[in-house]
Amino acid sequence: MTELNTALIEYCLRIADNSLIHAQRIADWTGHGPILEEDIAMSNVSLDLIGQARGFYTYASQLEGNGKSEDFYAFHRGERDFRNRLMVEQPDLKDFGFTMMKLFLNGCFDYLFFRDLMKSNDETISGLAAKSIKEVTYHVRHAGDWVVRLGDGTEESHQRIQKSLNELWPFTNELFEQNEVDELLIQNGAAFNKKELKAEWEAMVNEIITKATLKIPSDSTYFYSGGINGVHSEHLGFLLAEMQYLPRMYPDAIW
């Protein structure tokens, strides 16, 4: 396998892991949403993200060419193998504002990310990006609307959503993190420099945050990182234990 192929596989797994772990968190809301209409909306978002994960896992499997299924990647890898950002694995604890802020901050990035990735010289990747960006556009709009509503709603909602922003902000630098995998793919025209998205992302986020009468925390100097190297927060292990238990318990079973 060429170095480029290995890098592409790694890249697909990152995208798929982000989507899957985020989907798993949001899916946990099913039946517990603040209103029935939002329950339905969160199911939609979760389904979109699972769809994205399946697309990129399937492509990773084709690139590996050893017959691994999408389910292999989802259910038979451990904590250190997952490549998602730390932000998406953070537990929502049934705080709707936290979930919407997380979806918004990630969504803004994913929107820009997929927009660039649509220009990838790898046709499958550009195709998957083109499908994903339609979904992400809706996620950003939906979550952004809620950030504004909650920020500019009641005194309580303002304080709560500001707290969520403060808690999630230290995870945002990781959105732009990259390593030698990115460098190789950038050189080859398959991927793009994420660092160049930062100013645009900040502008997108600021617009909504200002409209929501919220403030970006100014005192945060510490930023979390590690997802692309498989170094996660303690929460991921529990998420995987729950998600993977059946296929792990019955490895020969087909469901």
Partner: protein, 316 residues
């Protein structure tokens, strides 16, 4: 004198109403209807909507643990459908003059009932199959008939919902079919789910007709077209063969095809258990109400914020 005229007038209206139902007329929200008809329908429809929403909980319980990505996506979509059914039936019920929020309050306070089946726990993945196949299967038998009921908004809601329930039914059956051609443990899991869900599914049709207090009126008004026992029999007849086709055993020693009646004979339902469960003493009654109440109170600040924001926009 005036009072007498009004009474006569009312009964004339009621007679005309009963006649038009006999002639197969569909009643629409703006048509005159007897107060009892309106109340019974509102009770049935709100219970139905509550059942859709509470029913999301036992199945939602397995979304984070679904054993493959495809199964996870199907299950999310399925539970999402149930939320949609809830919304749809609440809207239809609102045409009878009660707000959704008031109906929801009745559910949360424990005043309104919902289908007793959702007070049983989903213990294994096979239970997700059993709910789709048996519980939604029983619902389809009920709803296919309700789609022909006399109240327009309810009957139209049922037509649409039945289409989706048929898909749910197939996915549930498929889950069990996969388990039944799988490993020894998978087969045991499937049979265990069958054993636990069969009898509660039969109870979904409600008490035997002699013990069903509202049946006579509902039949007269064509809100119900068949008795509880008729529908239960119909469900059993169509389900037994499906069970046999994938090798599941129906947990009833008395179950036997009766050549004479052209129906299956079956054993006695444990009505004591049924009444315990509908009176709040099933394995999950308290949990389900707590889950709904928690979701409602956790979401209070969100709903208040949305309202405050909308009012601010209106003011500006």
């Amino acid at each position: 004198m005036d009072v007498k005229v009004k009474t006569d007038d009312l009964s004339a209206k009621e007679t005309a109403f009963n006649d038009s139902i006999k002639d197969g007329k569909v009643i629409e929200p703006k048509d005159w209807m007897p107060e009892k008809y309106r109340k019974q329908l509102l009770r049935m429809m709100s219970q139905h909507a509550h059942s859709e929403v509470v029913g999301m909980l036992p199945e939602g319980n397995w979304i984070t643990r679904a054993p493959s990505l495809a199964r996870k996506a199907i299950l999310i979509a399925k539970v999402q459908d149930e939320a949609g059914h809830g919304l749809y039936i609440y809207s239809a019920a609102e045409t009878l003059g009660m707000d959704r929020s008031e109906m929801v309050d009745q559910l949360l306070s424990g005043k309104a009932k919902y289908s007793s089946i959702f007070n049983y726990p989903t213990l294994t993945w096979a239970d997700i199959g059993a709910i789709g196949w048996l519980v939604d299967g029983a619902a389809i038998v009920n709803q296919t008939v309700l789609a022909k009921c006399s109240y327009g908004p309810y009957s139209r809601a049922m037509l649409r919902i039945c289409r989706e329930e048929n898909f749910h039914n197939k996915q549930g059956y498929q889950i069990l079919a996969f388990l039944m051609r799988g490993t020894k443990e998978q087969k045991e899991m499937a049979q265990d789910a069958m054993n636990r869900w069969w009898w509660p599914s039969l109870m979904m049709f409600g008490p035997s007709d002699k013990d069903s207090p509202n049946s006579a009126d509902l039949l007269k008004w064509k809100v119900k077209l068949y008795t509880n026992d008729d529908l239960r029999q119909r469900f059993i007849d169509r389900t037994v063969e499906q069970a046999e086709a994938i090798g599941l055993k129906v947990p009833d020693d008395k179950l036997k095809w009766n050549e004479e009646t052209r129906h299956y004979d079956f054993g006695e339902i444990n009505w004591e258990e049924f009444f315990q469960v509908i009176n709040g003493n099933g394995p999950c009654n308290k949990l389900r109400l707590k889950q709904r109440n928690d979701a409602h109170s956790n979401g209070q600040w969100v709903r208040e914020a949305a309202k405050a924001y909308a009012e601010k926009r209106k003011a500006n």
